[in-house]
Amino acid sequence: MKKIALLGNPNSGKTAIFNTLTGSRQHVGNWPGVTVEKKQGTIQFDNLKYNVIDLPGIYSLTTNSLDEKISRDFLIEENPDLVLIVIDQTNFDRNFYLATEIIEMRKNSILIFNMHDEAEKLKIKVDVQELSKILNIPIILTSAKYKTGIDELKNQIEKSLKKPHIPNIIEYDFTFENYILEIEKVLNSENLFEKENVRWAAIKILEKDELHIKKLNKNSENSINEIIQKLEYDLKEDSSIKLSEEKYNLISKISSKYIKKPEYKERVSDKIDKIITHKILGIPIFIFIMWLMFTLTFTIGDVFNGYIEAGFENLGEYFSTVMPENLLSSFVIDGLIGGIGSVLVFVPNIFLLFIFISFLGDIGYMARAAFVMDKVMTKIGLHGKSFIPMLLGFGCNIPAIMGARTLESRKDRIITILVNPLMSCNARLPVYLIFAGIFFPNSGGTVVFSIYLFGIILSILMAFIFKKFLFKNEQSIFIMELPPYRLPLANETLGEALRKTLMFVKKAGTIIFASVIIIWFLASFPAGAEYASEESIIGHIGRFAAPFFKPLGFGFWQAAVSLIFGFLAKEVIVGTMGTLWGGEAALSEVLPAFFSQASAYAFMIFTLIYTPCVATIATIKNEIGKKWMFFTIIYLFVLAYIVSFIVYNILSFIW
């Protein structure tokens, strides 16, 4: 299958173009670098299917960040048949920088001048015909938001796949061009690169790109070094900087010739920024937005939770009337309906939280949050950009840990990942809600909030410790775009939230279903043992582990068993308790016989901190390797034990 690559700056609307072309639902974010995964879709012409690959949003093709490396490797190794370059028309000068690199690679390309609606509002006019002619690249004006220009784009894709448009060479200023020619001469004489790649290689060598320099032989390396030294001496500047400078000069020339734009006037975005990123108001506004998000998530969510809970209870009652009482009915009612119902109850909360997080990203607030919080985050050993993965952690740690790829330096990335599980994910919420509801009926909200806060404080503390002891002398970078505020389309934000929620339900559906069956089996056998009694297999396992938890206030086998199963997925904890104690509805009567307020709180704290679920652990291994994976498992378990122990003993002393 032929391959089409989609490339562009972050916030250029690239992902929206991808969605429109392929029809698949993907995330449209405003946070630089949201597209870290390699997303694919297909597009069809005359029964022929083409693979469209959405490359990460990047600013250039150097290899300083993972995203840049992914894109560049793809362009070189996979050699796509067509490259679609998405450009935000309202920000041509910077967006075109990446395009010049593709032009220099001389790939069959189409330029997509996106955000046409905004450009029209700002009275920006592009001379499409002339610009397209001098570059020998077709240009299509689109607005992914209003779906304009998409048919033209599809037509052009079809045409370009049949008859490629190889971009013209863009020439630099005379003096600089001469250095490129000299390097080309050396490369040609040594036959080091294929003919069509020589110019690009020469430019990359001036950029001091290691991949290309590595390919040089002794002879050519010496002569090229001489040329570069001469350049740097003559132009009094590092060759890679000079190259960027020349590129921007070139872009300025193109831009002033073919693009008409009025003087920059203060935009609505700038006015909003004056308040949102205000020196004094910035942080209070940030805290307010976070508070609002969580309050709305839980107050609106609770309304729906009640209905779902009632629905599952009715379902259970219905089955108990139609099925004879035997092993199968206990499996269906106690195991399946009880276990799955206790988790699905929280879907409204999860959906709402995902809506808010998507919306804040799409609108452009996430970058401001990083800006406002960077100083504070740096103080505690993190990075302004760590803030987003940390926030995502409240939803689910898996996308959060993957989101840490936007962090460029190793140190920031690893620390962010290591402390991320301390951000209490949605799967842990059911435990807090149950316990807070039963043991702290009048201050449930405050108690749940305090657990979240506990996680945040611990993550700060641990990040600080890791920074001090594990990564003493490593540096980090914070250069980031503050994209203009943009109102996202409701269906994009909702679609994204829905997709993530369904992912959660699917995970809950599979892992929980499997574990519910295992639990039911372990709780029902050996034959003759009463369901989930101490005589069952699970009772034996729990009894063996229970003494270990005694110092924390919950040294009974049911708690131990629930925590063991929580390792599969944290949402299973409540499901297990439901199964072990005869349904979630019964928990409010049963639990007070086992827990005191102090041990209930300690149990919530332990649930917050201890070893994350299997899926999160697998993600950590994928992102930063086995060593850090084991490190995370061990440090979190030890931390959970110590902190719960302290909390339990202090609380039982006070209360």
Binding site: Y59, S60, T62, N64, T90, N91, D93, R94, Y97, E207, K208, E237, D238, S240, I241, S244, E245, Y248, N249, K261, Y264, D270, D273, K274, T277, H278, K279, I280, G282, I283, A367, F371, V372, D374, K375, V376, T378, G384, E408, I477, F478, I479, M480, E481, L482, P483, P484
Partner: protein, 78 residues
């Protein structure tokens, strides 16, 4: 004068970038290159990072990074 020493509202031109390669390339790919006009728009809470306007877009960077950039302020200041 260094960019890190500028105050919000000041405009000028970037003269030189002096740093190790990664940071330098990162800056140039985002449009911070010698010869470019800039305006320092604002400082974040606690004075760091800072927000710059270059051409018609906004960037933020830390003062530490800005301390690698030599600039010349516009003659006429407000």
């Amino acid at each position: 004068m260094l960019l890190s020493e500028c105050a919000p509202g000041q405009k000028g031109i970037i003269l030189k970038i002096d740093s190790e390669k990664t940071l330098k390339q990162r800056m140039t790919s985002m449009g911070i290159v010698p010869g470019i006009n800039f305006e320092l728009i604002s400082e974040a809470p606690f004075g760091d990072p800072i927000a710059l306007k270059i051409k018609n877009y906004k960037l933020s960077l830390r003062k530490f990074e800005a301390s690698h950039i030599t600039v010349k302020l516009e003659e006429k200041q407000k």
